[in-house]
Amino acid sequence: VTVDEYIRALRRDLPRGRHARRVLVEVEDYLRDASLADGEEAAVERFGSPSEVAAAFAPTFGASATRASVACVLVAVALAFATFPLLESVLPPAPWPSGPPDYLHWKQQSVLGLFLAGTLLALAGGAALLFRRLRAARVLTSAAAVALTAMLVLDVVLSYQWHREVPGAPGPIAIALYGSAIAALVLAALGHAAHAASLSTTRKPI
């Protein structure tokens, strides 16, 4: 097996992304150096099989995926904060002198509560990542993503009912479109967290 063949095989066994590119460059650098000293075949043989090396690297990819998960959920929260005033500005004045009816009021409060919970959990996930508590970061970020998903679903239901009560208010389709970017980020955060968890449970290196 030549160095080029080894690198191709290792590339197939590693996840995609920037971290994988760095790993491949470092491994290739090493193998080129070792080949000069001991010959290509011996250098490749001593390094270990591509599948073993990829398995040993797996937990380090888990850390990258955790960072991606935290980043997605924090961007989702930031986007929600940035677009909330825009949404408020297109809402017509509420016709009720003493607040919306109960069936709307509790949903409105729940949406705000879920948004607040999602924000706090996302920030806690970011803090856990800063302190290199990767498992805690994944759990907190996943919880934030679930809270934000529940918020979006409830917000679509709320907007449908609000639209019926207040002519001119944005309907559920408008809200779903408004929330689609946030939903995509939240789903990406959950996907990255699940990927990180699966990589972190694979065989650890020495």
């Binding site: 760095r22 790993v23 460059v25 470092e26 491994v27 650098d29 090493y30 150096d33 070792a34 001593r46 390094f47 270990g48 073993e52 090396v53 040993a56 690297f57 937990p59 380090t60 850390a63 290199r132 290196p205 020495i206």
Partner: protein, 107 residues
């Protein structure tokens, strides 16, 4: 002397790597060569296990790394951080106690 298996080194590799990088910043090839030379060939690990350990130590904040041009080649050079140095001191103290205890038992 016969080389030790990776299993025998389990739990000690981090200490060895931190110690090697503490002497001076090194790239992966230099780290592996130093490990082999200083142990007189006893620590003969599959070399593919060293890089994941370096990445793990970097993610734990014990090492930092950057690309450098060395002998007309671009290489990733690892250096120890303040947190890594503290970890190394703890590791050295633990190892010293462990080695003394083993020696006391088997002597």
């Amino acid at each position: 002397m016969k080389g030790m298996s990776g299993q025998a080194l389990k739990g000690h590799l981090d200490l060895l790597l931190l110690s090697l990088v503490d002497d001076e910043p090194r790239h992966g090839y230099a780290i592996i060569e130093s490990l082999r030379e200083r142990s007189d060939g006893v620590f003969d690990l599959p070399e593919g296990t060293i890089y994941p350990a370096l990445h793990r130590l970097e993610q734990a904040g014990f090492l930092s790394s950057r690309w450098s041009d060395i002998a007309a080649r671009r290489r990733r050079v690892y250096r120890i951080t303040a947190s890594g140095r503290r970890e190394l001191e703890h590791g050295r103290a633990d190892w010293s106690r462990f080695a003394q205890a083993v020696q006391a038992v088997i002597a």
